[in-house]
């Protein structure tokens, strides 16, 4: 689960910066072997980027490769390749896209071959498939795996037992494995400095999210939001670049808000906010802009989304804390959205609907992802019951174009918007 790395149609200065950051990261990866730098593959939820950065290790996030492949129309061929190799039609398409990409030469989004991993850091956070994914990759790459089992917050509470379990694993297994790979001990001051930068970036990101309370919202918190979380969900949390990016983004958003402007979209600035929506579930990447336009056309702005919280949930108060480095990394992992029990997820969406004064909410149930999707129809009923706000339910997939039924989704959304309109006019809903 995760976020695209700025191939955005929007061209704000922050977006330009993000583009440069990504290009530089892929250059570093391309040169990693020659320069003797070690490469760690890991996942977005529960990523330990500050820790990797403090040890000079370079992260690769296979989820991001998969979604990039989806956006570049490569995923169908990769998935077919994996299915030919015996991977079931029924399982998460991110995994198959990644395996297919590997079997096709592991060419990354910038056209260069990605280096093989020196270590697989299995941050087992909020998704069962992660475990299988890296077991599969281990069979392919024959490299070591460091497992970090993050317990599930079934009751929405981090207990001391959970925290200490994660911290102990970090202390006894994950940090030593990374130190061995880096060939040097972890400098705790360096880690703390990175966590402090993360914290400042998180403050700015939360300000960006909260700007959507304003009418019109200056951001789209889903389609636009997936770009905003790019740096903080991926290889940059804790870097000076990420800190600067979020400062810049916040100031752009605040300027738009001051001018009373809507979000930036692939077709320029949005005008005339008609509906304010909350979205639960990941987007479809293969038809991302088409999907977005189904909302833009209707004047629908997404004021908050849960998908943009999978790599870290900051707007309920959590911040990385340089004074408690390992504990706060543990709390970060424990708090990622898909690591929260369904009741907590429902409470959070309810809060978004109320706080952001949403007219409705949409659930995009993706075929790939039981972590997100199992139980969403109950969440829908529960939210309608609690808030009186109507929800829409659509089904698609992340990167398998076979499961993006454009006409069907469009029809559903159109009827939904008509229903919202009728309600607004006081007619039958």
């Amino acid at each position: 689960m995760t976020t695209p790395l700025a191939t955005a149609a929007v061209k704000d200065a922050s977006q330009q910066r993000q583009k440069r950051m990504i290009a530089e990261h892929f250059e570093r990866l391309a040169a990693a072997r020659d320069e003797g730098r070690k490469v760690v593959y890991t996942f977005v939820p529960g990523n330990l980027t500050e820790l990797l950065g403090a040890l000079g290790l370079l992260p690769v996030l296979p989820e991001i490769n998969a979604l990039q492949s989806g956006m570049r129309n490569r995923s169908a061929a990769y998935i077919a390749e994996a299915e030919r190799a015996g991977h079931s039609e029924d399982v998460c398409t991110y995994v198959k896209c990644d395996i297919g990409m590997l079997k096709s030469g592991n060419i990354g989004p910038t056209g260069t071959r990605l280096p093989d991993p020196d270590l697989l850091l299995l941050s087992y956070t909020g998704c069962f498939t992660f475990m299988k994914w890296f077991e599969l990759l281990r069979q392919e790459y024959r490299c070591p795996v460091a497992m970090l089992h993050v317990p599930y917050q079934s009751d929405g509470v981090i207990t001391e037992s959970m925290r200490s379990y994660v911290v102990e694993q970090l202390r006894r297994r994950v940090v030593p494995a990374l130190e061995r790979l880096a060939g040097r001990p972890l400098d705790m001051d360096e880690l703390a400095a990175r966590l402090a930068r993360s914290r400042r970036a998180e403050e700015d990101l939360v300000a960006v999210w909260e700007s959507a309370r304003h009418r019109p919202s200056p951001i789209d918190g889903y389609f636009g939001g997936v770009y905003y979380v790019g740096p903080i969900f991926s290889s940059f949390r804790g870097t000076g670049d990420a800190e600067a990016y979020y400062r810049e983004l916040r100031s752009e958003v605040e300027s738009r808000m001051a001018r009373g402007e809507g979000p930036t979209t692939p077709d320029g600035p949005a005008t005339g906010e008609r509906y304010r929506l909350v979205v639960e579930g990941p987007p479809n990447w293969t038809s991302f802009n088409e999907f977005w336009r189904m909302f833009i056309r209707e004047g629908a702005t997404v004021v908050a989304s849960t998908y943009t919280r999978v790599g870290g949930l900051y707007d309920t108060g959590f911040r990385h804390d340089p004074a408690r480095p390992l504990e706060s990394l543990a709390d970060y992992c424990l708090g990622c959205y898909t690591n929260l029990g369904l009741p907590t997820r429902t409470d959070l969406i309810e809060r978004y609907i109320r706080d952001y004064q949403a007219d409705g909410f949409v659930i995009n149930s993706v075929k790939s992802c039981n972590s997100f999707s199992a139980g969403q129809l109950l969440v829908l009923r529960e939210l309608e019951r609690r808030t009186g706000v109507p929800g829409a339910f659509i089904e698609s997939d992340l990167v398998d174009p076979r499961y993006f039924g454009k006409a069907n989704i469009e029809n559903r959304l159109q009827s939904y918007f008509q229903m919202l309109e009728a309600r607004r006019r006081g007619g039958p809903s």
Partner: protein
Amino acid sequence: MAGPLGDCEARLARARALVEDRRLDTVRAWKAGHPGGLAIGHMPVYVPRPMLEAQGCLAVALFGGGDQVDIIRGDSYFQSYICHIPRSTIELALTGDLEPLDGVLFPSICDVIRNLGGMWKLLFPDRYSDYLDLPQDFDPEVGGAFYVRELGRIAGELERRGARPLEPGALREAIARENRRRAALEAMDALRAREPWRVRASEAYLIARAGAALPAQEHATLLEEFLAAAALREVRYRDNVRVVLVGAFCEQPPFELVLTLERAGCDIIHDDLQLGLRAIDGEIRVPEGADPLEALARAYLEQGTAMASRYIGEGEKGVALVRRVCDAAADGVVFAAASFCDPALLDQPMLERALEGAGIPFTSFKFAENTGQFQVIREQAGAFSDAVKLWGKES
């Protein structure tokens, strides 16, 4: 208790009645005989049942509705692409069939069971339900310590709801009863592997699954009596291919599917249909003076069977399966995964690769618990069985 020794059919009939007891009448009867006792359901695959027994609870393994339940309401709670067991489990809960349960545990085997646990809390906020996070770190001081704390927490929750406090003496005895059940199961597995015509897989399945809502002791007795009776019965030798059936089974296949494989000429000499009962390999040892809760946790860490929902750690995927096939002198493997089952289907390519490396033939298909058509499976299994026989003759 079962009837006179020597009568397999009586035990099988009892087992079948227990397996088909969807409305949990036996649980109702147990509760009537144990006033104040709690009946605690649990989803597949594994929860440490001796802990529940030590607290005076009846552990009830839940396997969905099989092919006997019409899904009327359950479907409206789930998206299109998902396995079947959560639908039928919700259906049973909404129709009141799970009413006798005082609580349900959801172990951490996959995201569907995990989220089903959350749905339970939303749907039945007044009933006890809990998530059991089984450790994926197998260091006794790290994952083990966490697991002991988890078990202690759940024991406390049960106690608050009227169960007996968890006492070491009672736990030690419950573990001993579980060991007896385990030994009887192992004896049945060994007999099946030796003489598959004496104990058919379909029979072994019924007898094993009958323990879902029985105290370990009672199940052990059923197993032992069945074995004693099977040893004496008249049988006819069959020259079938010997297969291991693999499905990381949580959702159970229809009984007819097991019969179909048998009819297609496959002797299933080992299976993971009742995976939870086999999740710990061998006896749970409680050394003199040791804390039995720690021993129970340690058994999970150190003797855990290789299965899809358990991290492989430093091990090698498929090694356990290859060993199983070799030890049991099996001719091949039949994979039967529940449709949309992440653990089974994500594991399968790794297991297949290991089998290919070892030159072991396999075939695979998918099922749903309410599958009603077996012709294709029968043909596929028949073709597999013929091919394996042919290779066997050639080699």
